[in-house]
């Protein structure tokens, strides 16, 4: 009998737990530890942030589902890792702290045979002075509560615009090393469309601010893609959409301070500049959770497990951009020091960024961090679950299930406006996610055809269909596993 502990019930943790439970018989224990009592379908936060969906539409409580599916659930957060146990406990364990009413603050040693760290990112608002959701007129859509607050603020402004007030809107990244440009891109287009729907578009000046060097970089070094019968750069496609929607842009901007209605940033020329706004949505930088790890004697071994995020089978040797290759990227998400620990989704430490790193004239790093979107998060979680199942069933040491982001495609359906007949979506697929410049030297590291873009109403329908399909899947309704990650 094996005990598998999954930390986190986001896309990666929930996918891993549900596949483990489906494929392992009941003598094996699957335990999920996660502080948020709800599962949330994060991509639809964009629609909460424009008031077209309510938080209830994108979440459901985890406890009843897990009880029904025989998954043990602890509403708690991991605080420290003890992969060798300690003087009193022979088995490896994670120290968790309960957050639920009733036993809040209580700690427990949760022992395991296999550990999946799927704790995703810490939303590191503190890394940017003054950036905090709902403060200084700057918002976030990274959680459903943040997105609801953003909508409350925007709704108030729309009312003022209806009375004739002119406003400035700033949307993009809130740190020199933020990632998730895609989410901010979706949000700016959705906000723009909502302002048109409310007949106040002429009252707003909308600006995109980003740490990307080019538009459409998305932390993935941009893309060369098929677009209809043409081949287009993602920068051209995004430029076309922004110009068409009258959205201006500021690039290479490392936002370093936010004051009431003013974002301060450094650009690649080393200039300190500022941009005023009445409403902002700025994606914070993502970081690891600052977990500590200890060996059996209590000695600090955090360096063996973490470099910000969790160390896995990546090649972390520092090297210049020109020498980066897809082989640097992990394949199994297994920690090299403790082979029974894995980290799929955003929880693993990437070897480096995907976009070309750039520094300002003052030496400030202004480079998007690499995104790990929903699809790779789900795929990596499933392959980790499959490897653990093989390890349990066949006492396998060798891991057969592999999935490098350098040999994996991703679909990103970016909402560009909500509405069954008026909505729009920008559908982008990319293969591979990490460009393979050796394999595809003439097409910017990507396979054309599998890397394509398309704009239109169908994109909105697709995004909406995915919303319902993935919530169905997450609820583990009949045949849920037939829906791919």
């Amino acid at each position: 009998m094996a005990k598998i502990v999954v930390l986190g019930a986001g896309i990666a943790g929930h996918v891993a737990a549900s596949h483990l439970r489906r494929k392992l018989n009941k003598e094996h224990e699957v335990v999920v530890v996660s502080p948020n009592s709800n599962y949330q379908w994060i991509p639809s936060n964009i629609w909460v942030g424009i008031g077209r969906m309510k938080p209830q539409d994108i979440l459901f409580p985890l406890a009843p589902l897990y009880a029904k599916k025989h998954i043990d659930y602890k509403q708690a957060k991991a605080v420290s890792f003890h992969p060798e146990g300690d003087q009193d406990q022979n088995r490896p364990y994670v120290m968790v702290e309960y957050v639920s009413e009733g036993n809040k603050g209580n700690k427990e040693k949760v022992t395991y045979d296999y550990l999946i760290n799927a704790t995703g990112p810490k939303l590191n608002f503190e890394a940017t002075e003054g950036l905090s959701p709902g403060k200084n007129k700057a918002h976030s859509v990274c959680t459903y509560t943040h997105a609801q607050e953003a909508w409350n603020a925007l709704e108030g402004l729309i009312e003022q615009m209806k009375q004739g007030k002119k406003i400035k809107i700033l949307i993009g990244t809130g740190h020199a090393k933020s990632t998730c440009q895609g989410a901010a891109f979706e949000y700016i287009l959705n906000v723009e469309q909502e302002l048109r729907r409310h007949n106040v578009r002429d009252k707003a000046e909308i600006t995109w601010i980003s740490n990307e060097f080019n538009l459409g970089d998305f932390g993935m070094d941009g893309m060369l893609m098929s677009y209809g019968s043409n081949i287009m750069k993602s920068s051209e496609m995004v430029g076309m959409v922004f110009e068409d929607r009258n959205i201006s842009w500021i690039l290479g901007a490392g936002v370093n301070k936010v004051e009431d209605g003013v974002a301060h940033y450094e650009n690649l020329d080393g200039e300190q500049k500022q941009e005023s706004y009445d409403f902002a949505m700025l994606i914070p930088s993502f970081s690891g959770h600052g977990f500590k790890a200890y060996d059996r004697t209590g000695m600090d071994i955090t360096d063996k497990l973490f470099r910000g995020f969790m160390i896995v089978d990546a090649d972390y040797t520092p090297k210049p951009y020109e020498e980066w290759s897809v082989q640097d990227w992990p394949e199994t998400y297994q920690n090299p020091s403790y082979p029974n620990i894995f980290a799929p989704g955003i929880a693993f430490a990437p070897p480096h960024s995907i976009s070309k790193p750039r520094k300002s004239k003052n030496g400030t790093d202004i480079t998007p961090a690499p995104p790990r979107t929903g699809m790779p998060s789900g795929i990596t979680a499933k392959l980790v679950a499959d490897n653990i199942i093989e390890m349990i069933k066949q006492s396998n040491k060798e891991l057969h299930h592999k999935g490098s982001m350098g040999n994996m495609g991703a679909a990103c359906i970016a909402s560009a406006g909500f509405g069954m007949t008026t909505g729009s979506g920008i559908s982008i697929t990319t293969y591979p996610i990490v460009p393979d410049y050796q394999k595809y030297p003439d097409t910017h590291g990507r396979k054309l055809g599998k890397t394509f873009g398309s704009i239109g109403l169908a994109g909105h329908w697709l995004k909406l269909a995915l919303h319902y399909a993935f919530i169905y899947k997450a609820k583990m309704k009949p045949f849920w596993w037939l829906i791919p990650e």
């Binding site: 959409v241 068409d244 394949e331 592999k402 679909a411 599998k450």
Partner: protein, 44 residues
């Protein structure tokens, strides 16, 4: 505002009938990328 998407293109992008077929095409295309599989990069 700079018009970058022609009236014809916009019509095609927003026409529900055209987009219905596009929806089916995109669903299949996305599924193919997903079902296209994934693997390692290190073994020769």
């Amino acid at each position: 505002m700079t018009r970058r998407i022609s009236k014809y293109k916009r019509f095609m992008m927003m026409n529900p009938i055209v987009q219905f077929f596009k929806f089916i095409y995109l669903s299949i295309k996305v599924l193919l990328v997903v079902a296209g599989g994934h693997g390692g990069t290190r073994s020769a």
